[in-house]
């Protein structure tokens, strides 16, 4: 199960994820991101993975895609940091960012 909480502020659009990013929830996150993308122009989009326990290969692929579109990732636990590193080819822990980005 995955819970997605949306924090929509003036400076950034944050997707806080809790639980497991796997199976049908990958599509759910993608849908959520795609829907939000139309309103996030000019603002940061951040995915907070601090409370995520597990990411399956499809989830990794989606995060990689989101990262390629300028979405910033935040992770804490070594496991998720490692998954992110692999998915996004970025620094292992903390905030993983990409400078110039566009929404899908």
């Amino acid at each position: 199960m995955l819970k997605i909480t949306l924090h929509d502020s003036a400076g950034e659009f944050r997707l806080k994820l809790e639980g497991r990013l796997s199976g049908p929830w990958v599509r759910e996150l993608e849908q959520c991101w795609t829907t939000a993308a139309s309103t996030t122009s000019g603002r940061r989009t951040v995915v907070d993975l601090g409370e995520v326990d597990f990411i399956d290969p499809q989830g990794q692929l989606l995060l990689s895609n989101m990262f390629a579109h300028g979405v910033e990732m935040e992770a804490v636990t070594p496991l998720i940091c490692s998954v992110l590193k692999e998915a996004c080819q970025a620094p292992a822990c903390g905030t993983v960012e990409r400078k110039a980005g566009s929404t899908p």
């Binding site: 199960m1 819970k3 997605i4 759910e28 822990c93």
Partner: protein, 690 residues
């Protein structure tokens, strides 16, 4: 009125035969009695002097004679409403004798005073009544009246008798034709109703979900019988009221809303539901039964209503209501029809509700299966409690005492002491052992998901809730729920947990439906809940509710007598699993194992023995005693808490007080930021010190 006179004719007999022929032609040319009579009036006036001609028909059922058609220049006065009784009319006298009944002077008529008065009121002086009958039945009478006394001769009466015999055939035919048309109309009406009933049937039998079913019923009734309003109210036993589950009211103002709750005691539908009898209501009758419903419906322009209960095997499930803006729109046959529709709808609703219950049970069984499979995979190694020490026996005695009761149990104990095993033992020794033992480690679930794990959620309750989920409390219905690390439940969720313990009811996230659960709670923690209450980290009321029967599981260092038994048990278990043959354990090694204080308790001992079995080559267990000595030396002076505190402080110093981020203390310690912050709060460590 001017008295009429019979026209003169050169040959009256010939003229009468010619007229009779014309009467016969007229009878064959007219199907309707009214037009036939107009024509007859015109034809007969040439030969017979009369001022009015009328047809009366006999009603054998009501035993009255009714005036059916009247041809006259003036409106008739004093016509009796509802017909004239048999014994007061000359028509019956004529029919009984099969002869004309002639009244030459109306004023002298004494046998039929009622008729005399009517005739006198209209100035009629003489009247001749010809019986109309066929071989099969008596039909009525043909009346000729005149404003002059004794207007008819014997020849006239004879001639009128001939006319009457022909008219009798025409009347008989017309009555048969009218009856046939009426039957045809009735059959057409019944055919339309049966077709509608079939449509309702076809629509409802294919729908298994209630929402689809209600839509199908609305579609079937819409546009039929001039209905302006149709609704279905279903009884909800939880709120002891009716709920408006289907509403088809396209012309409504919005005052009547879907899903509205309708009380049983102050509503028209509630009245029908209680009495279990369908009824037709006018607006005035609605006001008598329920002023509330009257106000609502009169505001919508409703004038007549038909409400029938949905009955199934003598039980009322709700009501079907149809209404119209026309007054007196519904009749008894409509009531019968809608009662039949309600019977079909009741079966369909019962099926749909049963299907819904089966779906819920299926979902629950599926969840239970997944959960139990998970249990089998992960927990089959804990099969029994091993040990014979006095400390353990004392605990087991407490377990035996509390297990058969339904009391909440709170198990205290350090990590690895077997708290879950004790909870399982409580479940297995209780009357609930046939039910499910559901466990949840409150510290292992992200805080935001804990509520959903415990209480479940409806589809769409939050982003990511892509399907309905049954919570652990629902899963543990009639079983036991074991909440490990109960001290980690966030304070905002504690009130909901308290409600479940007190009221045994809760709602899934995103649902307003209250669910009742009969789950016994066994909770465990390695934290001091009393201290947490003082620090306002744990609700006092929940603490007292949990602390009904506290059991403290002793650490392994306090039951060293059990260490040799546990060692032998684990050696046998792992040797069997790894296909090894280990027959002896050196005394020196066993002594070292017994001397060690085992901060990680039985879990640590178990893992240590697993490692020792892996390292063993022969039949004697090779224990890496050096590891124990090294740890023993360090552990003699430092407690686990102190070691934890020191590790955290060291990591914070290295990270310059930063907790999160890739260079933060949490990352250095390999734990979640939130976990580290929780531990810091517990140990009273503040970041600003660094």
């Amino acid at each position: 009125m001017t008295p009429s006179t019979a026209p003169s004719s050169p040959d009256p007999t010939r003229a009468r035969y010619e007229t009779l022929l014309e009467v016969a032609e007229s009878i064959s040319a007219h199907r309707q009695l009214s037009t036939l009579f107009s024509d007859l009036s015109r034809l007969l006036k040439r030969l017979v002097p009369f001022d009015f001609i009328s047809l009366t028909l006999v009603d054998h059922k009501e035993r009255v004679v009714r005036l059916h058609i009247l041809e006259t220049d003036q409106p008739i006065l004093g016509k009796p409403p509802g017909g004239t009784p048999f014994d007061q009319t000359p028509t019956i006298a004529a029919l009984q004798t099969r002869r004309p009944y002639y009244i030459p002077d109306v004023a002298a008529e004494e046998r039929f005073p009622v008729i005399r008065e009517i005739l006198q009121a209209n100035g009629i002086q003489s009247v001749c009544i010809l019986p109309l009958f066929t071989a099969q039945r008596d039909l009525g009478g043909l009346h000729f009246g005149s404003l002059t006394r004794d207007a008819y001769s014997a020849e006239d009466i004879e001639f009128m008798g001939q006319v009457a015999r022909q008219v009798a055939v025409a009347v008989d035919n017309a009555l048969h034709s009218e009856a046939a048309i009426a039957y045809e109309e009735q059959l057409a009406r019944e055919r339309d109703r049966l077709r509608t009933l079939l449509d309702v049937n076809n629509a409802v039998v294919t729908c298994l979900e209630t929402s689809q079913l209600f839509g199908a019923i609305a579609d079937s009734l819409r546009g039929r019988f001039g209905l302006d309003y149709a609704s279905l109210l279903i009884y909800d036993p939880e709120i002891h009221a009716l709920k408006l589950r289907m509403l088809d009211f396209p012309g409504g103002t919005g005052a009547i809303q879907q899903d509205a709750v309708v009380p049983l005691d102050d509503s028209l539908a509630g009245y029908v539901f209680r009495t279990r009898e369908g009824r037709l209501f006018s607006l005035a009758e609605i006001r008598e039964v329920s002023p509330t419903t009257f106000k609502l419906f009169s505001g919508e322009g409703i004038e007549s209503l038909c409400s029938v209960p949905l009955l199934l095997r003598g039980t009322a499930l709700g009501t079907l209501n149809v209404a119209s803006r026309q007054p007196d729109r519904f009749h008894t046959d409509d009531l019968q029809f809608f009662t039949q529709v309600a019977g079909q709808v009741a079966i369909a609703i019962d099926n749909a509700l049963s299907y819904q219950r089966i779906e819920e049970l299926n979902a629950r069984l599926a969840e239970e299966k997944i959960y139990l499979e998970d249990e089998i995979r992960t927990d089959n190694r804990f099969e029994e409690i091993v040990g014979q020490s006095r400390a353990l026996k004392a605990i087991l005695k407490q377990v035996e005492t509390v297990a058969p009761t339904d009391s909440t149990v709170l198990i205290y104990g350090e990590t690895g002491t077997g708290k879950e095993l004790m909870a399982r033992a409580i479940h297995d020794l209780s009357a609930r052992k046939q039910g499910t033992f559901v466990k949840l480690n409150c510290a292992a679930i992200p805080t935001g998901l804990l509520e959903s794990e415990l209480f479940g959620h409806e589809k769409g309750a939050f982003t990511g809730a892509i399907a309905q989920r049954i919570g652990r409390f629902e899963l543990a219905h009639r079983g036991t729920i074991f909440l490990d690390e109960v001290g980690e439940i966030p304070i905002e969720l504690q009130s909901k947990l308290l409600r479940v313990l007190q009221e045994r009811e809760f709602e899934r996230l995103g649902s307003s439906r209250t669910i009742r659960t009969d789950a016994r709670l066994v909770a465990a923690t390695n934290r001091d809940l009393g201290e947490m209450v003082e620090a306002r980290e744990f609700r006092a009321d929940l603490y007292y509710r949990l602390n009904v029967f506290p059991i403290t599981v002793p650490p392994l260092r306090e039951r060293t007598d059990d260490i040799p038994i546990l060692v032998q048990y684990f050696v046998q278990q792992y040797a069997r699993r790894m296909n090894r043959r280990i027959t002896s354990i050196p005394t020196e090694s066993m002594n070292a194992l017994s001397r060690y204080h085992w901060p990680g308790n039985i879990r640590e001992l178990q893992n240590f023995i697993e490692r020792a079995v892996i390292l063993t080559n022969g039949s004697t267990l090779q224990v890496p005693v050096r590891e124990l000595k090294r740890t023993v030396g360090g552990a003699a002076v430092v407690t686990l808490e102190t070691a934890e505190r020191e590790a955290i402080i060291r990591a914070l110093r290295d990270a310059a007080g930063k907790v999160g981020g890739d260079q933060g203390a949490a990352a250095k310690l390999g734990m979640k930021r939130t976990t580290l912050q929780a531990k810091m709060r517990k140990l009273g460590i503040e970041t600003k010190v660094f």
